[in-house]
């Protein structure tokens, strides 16, 4: 009982949404029915990176120290990180550029709010949609990893929900950030955040390469938590610390959704 009322007091009702979010999902399906190539082609980008960095550069690097201290091939080390980075980039792109365009230019949400739907439905609907896309890419990528022998354990299939959790965190945070943006100029800031995250989140090399103080800083990166989680799963490792990584991403996503719904309400209904 207390948790229920507490939730109601902290989270604005608009952030909870209703069951109407599915209509937004249906709309997106209808729109992309004629532009499926855009969705399909997104599958190739992480594959190109996997072949280039994992195979070509892998020959230069040789084996690296895996999460348990055992040596693993560089391709097996970097592949889960590329999956995580792809989940981040997809979620961020969908929740920033696309949402901003729909919000400011296409005015789709003004039309949506003329129906019984609420801002929370928009936030939840759009984030669910981007997770659909993410699930498609993650599954395809894992199949390729499995064929290439980079997923020694079938527990690696759990990397799909892990990648979705990562995508959820970034989609929610990205949508919250987009609600504060004034013009396309502000989108430079998106790159300012995602590029360092992409390069420095234990994606291309273990944290042990860094000096002590930098290791601490890298652990603040949400991509780091997602990558460690996905990497453990594709290698078939289970540890209690994974709960901490999951918790980090859940909190990030929840905060993002609440902020996004509040801001959408202010922007569109004020």
């Amino acid at each position: 009982m207390t948790t229920g009322t507490l939730m109601a007091r902290i989270v604005p009702p608009s952030a909870m949404g209703s069951r109407r979010a599915r209509h937004l999902l249906e709309r997106n399906f209808l729109v992309y029915r004629h532009a499926w190539i855009v969705i399909f082609s997104g599958f190739f980008e992480p594959l190109f990176y996997l072949f280039s960095i994992g195979i070509g550069l892998g020959k230069l690097v040789g084996d690296v120290v895996g999460p348990t201290g055992e040596p693993i091939s560089y391709a097996a080390f970097v592949a889960p990180a590329l999956l995580g980075a792809a989940a981040m980039n997809g979620a961020v792109y969908e929740s920033t550029f696309n949402i901003f365009f729909k919000l400011k230019y296409a005015k789709i949400y003004d039309a949506v709010l003329a129906t019984p739907m609420a801002p929370g439905d928009i936030a939840i609907g759009e984030i669910t949609w981007s997770l659909f896309r993410g699930a498609l890419y993650a599954t395809g990528f894992l199949v390729v990893m499995w064929i290439m022998g980079l997923m020694p354990s079938l527990w690696g299939l759990l990397a799909v929900p892990a990648a979705l959790l990562l995508g959820f965190g970034f989609a929610a945070a990205g949508m919250a950030a987009t609600s504060f943006m004034r013009s396309w100029q502000d989108f430079d800031l998106v790159q300012l955040v995602t590029l360092p995250l992409f390069l420095f989140s234990a994606t291309f090399y273990p944290l042990s390469v860094y000096p002590e103080w930098l290791r601490w800083a890298a652990q603040l990166s949400p991509l780091y938590h997602g990558v460690v989680l996905i990497r453990s799963l594709t290698l078939g490792i289970f540890e209690w610390t994974m709960l901490y990584h999951i918790g980090f991403l859940v909190v990030m996503g929840a905060v993002g959704i609440v902020v996004a719904a509040r801001r959408l309400e202010k922007l569109l209904l004020a």
Binding site: L57, K59, V64, D188
Partner: protein, 257 residues
């Protein structure tokens, strides 16, 4: 004709005076981040592993000139794509330009001239960042600006022609996804193309970026190039001249003169 093309360059420069802030991050920050992340960080692994044995030099010194050429390619392809489509389709500035005594060849050459100037600037900044990382001496590094600009223009010219020919901007996303990004990854930027499977190596010869990387790397490291340097330069020049002619042709079709 030259005077008219210079007017087009001037127009770009006047606009840039107002909009340069938007490109600061991509110009300055991405070379720093890539050199730090891939060169220094990943370099630690490469130098420790089997890498330095097969490339013979520290990874940072190997990677930096490759990234210089790749950055020029990205600037060139970027400046040749969306701005051209905007000029024809979205802001329609090209129609305004052609309402003056400026003709289509002036427009194309002026546009590419401005891209070249921007490329000199961007590449010089990149080389100074490389020097700050100790990846190259400033003097030799600045010499590598020349092949970098050639590489960038070898992309800017044909991409401009392609962008003018396109009906919808999804073609540009596909160009980057299936063209520019794979070239970035497989043209000797991150590792020698001899590491690629045998059937892919001749393909790399066809990619202008590979020729650019050969030249920038040979300049900064004093290495021999795969073919004679003149062959590499001639190949890039062929793309620039051919691309410019194609661009003039498609601009003429689109803008109706």
């Amino acid at each position: 004709m030259a005077a008219a093309a210079i007017r087009v360059v001037e127009a770009h420069a006047r606009v840039y005076r107002r909009t340069w802030r938007g490109s600061v991050i991509s110009t300055f920050l991405s070379p720093v981040l890539y050199l730090l992340g891939m060169g220094v960080g990943l370099g630690t692994l490469v130098n420790r592993g089997a890498g330095s044995a097969s490339i013979g030099i520290p990874y940072l010194a190997y990677l930096a000139p490759g990234l210089l050429a790749a950055a020029a390619m990205q600037t060139g392809a970027g400046d040749g794509s969306w701005p051209v489509m905007a000029g024809i389709k979205w802001t329609k500035t090209y129609f305004a330009t052609l309402a003056t005594p400026i003709r289509i060849p002036d427009l194309v050459i002026g546009h590419l001239g401005w891209v070249g100037i921007r490329m000199i600037f961007v590449s010089t900044v990149f080389v100074l960042v490389m020097a700050a990382f100790g990846a190259v001496a400033v003097g030799v590094g600045l010499l590598a600006v020349f092949p970098a600009v050639l590489t960038g223009l070898a992309f800017a010219a044909p991409v401009s022609g392609y962008a003018a020919w396109l009906k919808r901007d999804t073609g540009l996303s596909n160009l980057f996804r299936f063209g520019i990004v794979p070239m970035f990854l497989f043209s000797g930027t991150f590792f020698p193309i001899t590491q690629l499977p045998g059937w892919m190596q001749p393909l790399a010869y066809a990619v202008p970026l590979w020729h650019g990387v050969e030249l920038t790397r040979a300049t900064t490291l004093g290495l021999a190039t795969t073919f004679s340097p003149f062959v590499h330069v001639a190949y890039l020049l062929a793309w620039i001249v051919g691309g410019t002619l194609v661009a003039i042709h498609t601009f003429t079709k689109k803008l109706g003169q």
